[in-house]
Symmetry: C2
Subunit: 192 residues, 2 copies
């Protein structure tokens, strides 16, 4: 049976940073709170505030902070950023920060050296439990995703993340979006 729930909209990430309360305070001052300027999925938002990140070889200005505050700071960059930063960036699931490299982060009040948290995010699909039931998939399972168009491809090893507080969306980064010539909100198809 064909389920229309197999079609999932694409959400494309550029490099960004999630901050802990402590790191936010160190970078922006005590009791500072982020100002949302665009809501993403669920309660996630892109903040007005940006920081600079500095690697051993190069840096990026205006790296967007994504809110809300997290338990641990995490910097998500593109694999193509590795060369400019001069750091080999590991491919990780969000939150899996053991043995990841650190990076220097500069805010308006201070600069801090994160001891870890620099990753390239594994592509993944956020999915409410109702859709997971219809598709017969489980949290942390991997699926394939087929795209269409002039650079069509099949992404393998796409991680399912079942969460009822997030919208249904495939998260890929800019490198992956360009390789497949995809835009935000294009529909792609899950198959196991």
């Amino acid at each position: 049976m064909y389920a229309r729930e197999k079609k999932v909209p694409v959400g494309i990430s550029n490099r960004h940073i999630h901050l802990s309360q402590g790191d936010l305070a160190r970078l922006f001052g005590r009791d500072y709170s982020l100002t949302p300027y665009r809501y993403l999925i669920g309660k996630q938002f892109a903040a007005k505030e940006t920081v600079k990140i500095i690697g051993p070889k190069g840096s990026f200005d205006k790296v967007r902070i994504l809110g809300p505050i997290r338990t641990h700071s995490q910097v998500e960059v593109l694999l193509s950023d590795s060369y400019k930063l001069g750091v080999k960036v590991p491919l990780r699931q969000s939150g899996e920060l053991e043995d990841t490299p650190g990076i220097e982060v500069v805010g308006p009040c201070n600069k801090i050296q994160l001891s870890q948290g620099l990753i390239c995010a594994k592509r993944h699909i956020h999915m409410p439990s109702q859709i997971a039931r219809i598709l017969g998939v489980k949290d942390k399972e991997s699926v394939n995703v087929k795209t269409v168009g002039n650079r069509s491809l099949i992404f393998e090893k796409v991680l399912i993340r079942v969460r009822d507080d997030f919208d249904y969306e495939l998260h890929i980064d800019i490198d992956e979006a360009n390789a497949a010539n995809l835009q935000n909100d294009n529909l792609v198809e899950i198959y196991k």
Copy 2:
């Protein structure tokens, strides 16, 4: 029957430019000839010389010239460069330049406005005719290519280019290489 010829090495392209004799003369001076600094496949080489390309919104310095001279100048950029240049770049097979946008190119002697030739190259496999026979594929046919690793995927619509003067190689750009976490000379597999 499994043919070991299905395994093809990866060659990754960054943005670059091919110049006609006339455009080379305009940019670098009369009777100028390019200096190879690294040979690629066949007689193709990366030249020591670079140029600047300027779009309506932004520019790139040090765009490598690839030799030898061609009949028509052609500028190959990444889809991710479209945003910085401020030009919508079409996905094209090399040499198919009809109705493609132009761009400004700056060399040491002069700047010129190309009236066309700005493309993002379609991924393709250069293949000697002997390998094409073994695999049972024809020039201009499309195949799929499967990669392995932590960002494994299947590229669809990979164009076969049968040429006996080129080495056997899958040509993808940096966006595609990063999306699949591939390095130069990694082996990937063709299937129809």
